[in-house]
């Protein structure tokens, strides 16, 4: 079982949802790691949850990307560790340079708080083995800055090298380039995505569409 830590920055508000989803699939509660900590030894998977770290000042994720714990996450990633970033976590990963591109203000300018649907681009990664390739699943989203962008060469590389993890399946509401909702690092060990699979992991939440992601990680 992957030893898992969830990062906590001031302004993050989805860490409990994430911990519930992890504990439900893993059978063990993750460690919660304050942003000033720098020792991630013994952890296999670092999760950066959603919220509004440091008030989204300057740019979403910009302040968190400079925090002490993110230096440790870079070291963790460089030695092949797993990283999952959701929503603000995805923004922090792009701001840190651990994933390419950036998340711009939603094309329609509105904060989008609603369900969306995602298509699974590949199911041979540690994050998606419990989905089918091409499967479409429901995922809540809640963001003002989820409009994924990168230069055309980077987008071509992401698509050509199989690094697109998820695309918006029904409607691309935030205007993301090529309907990209989530991407992998070249080694497929870092995943960032805007919607919240952790918020659909129990019938009491209205569905379990997000649970296969955590079951995939639990089976790793």
């Amino acid at each position: 079982m992957l030893a898992t830590g969830i990062l906590l920055f001031p302004g993050i508000n989805r860490e409990r949802d994430m911990a519930i989803a992890v504990e439900q699939s893993f059978g063990r509660a993750p460690r919660v790691i304050w942003h000033k900590e720098t020792d991630l030894s013994g952890l296999d998977l670092i999760i950066i949850p959603g919220g509004f770290s440091f008030g989204d000042y300057l740019r979403c994720g910009a302040m968190a990307a400079q925090s002490p714990v993110m230096q440790a996450v870079k070291t963790h990633a460089a030695r092949g560790g797993y990283v999952l970033g959701v929503c603000n976590g995805f923004q922090i990963l792009t701001e840190s340079g651990l994933l390419p591109g950036a998340l711009l203000r939603n094309a329609g300018l509105r904060f989008l708080s609603m369900d969306t649907t995602l298509s699974v681009e590949r199911n041979d990664t540690i994050f998606t083995s419990h989905y089918q390739k091409g499967q479409v699943f429901r995922a809540p989203m809640a963001h003002g800055d989820g409009n994924y962008t990168a230069d055309p060469a980077t987008l071509d590389r992401l698509e050509g090298e199989g690094l697109v993890a998820f695309r918006y399946a029904d409607e691309n509401r935030n205007g993301s380039a090529r309907a990209i909702a989530g991407i992998y690092s070249p080694n497929h060990r870092i995943l960032g995505l805007m919607p919240h699979p952790e918020d659909l992991v129990d019938p009491l939440m209205g569905g379990t569409d997000g649970k296969p992601l955590f079951d995939s990680l639990a089976a790793a």
Binding site: L58, R59, Q66, T94, P100, A102, L104, A107, T149
Partner: protein, 80 residues
Amino acid sequence: MKAIVTVMLKDGVLDPQGKAIGHALNNLGFAQVGDVRAGKIIELTLSETDPVAAKVAAEDMAQKLLANMVIESFKVEISA
């Protein structure tokens, strides 16, 4: 010494805020307004006294934090 860092989205990057401001100005009757781009200005008060060194430092800050070079460009002006 002050450094004034102006951060703008790069040309070609969609600026929905600029668009919305443009629409609002048109609605207010300013029919002459075409493209609008919105950015931000960051004023830094520096202990530096050498304007060249101040500019170098502010540019370093802009590249490392104040601007996201994937989507933004910046310019630095130094004033006394």
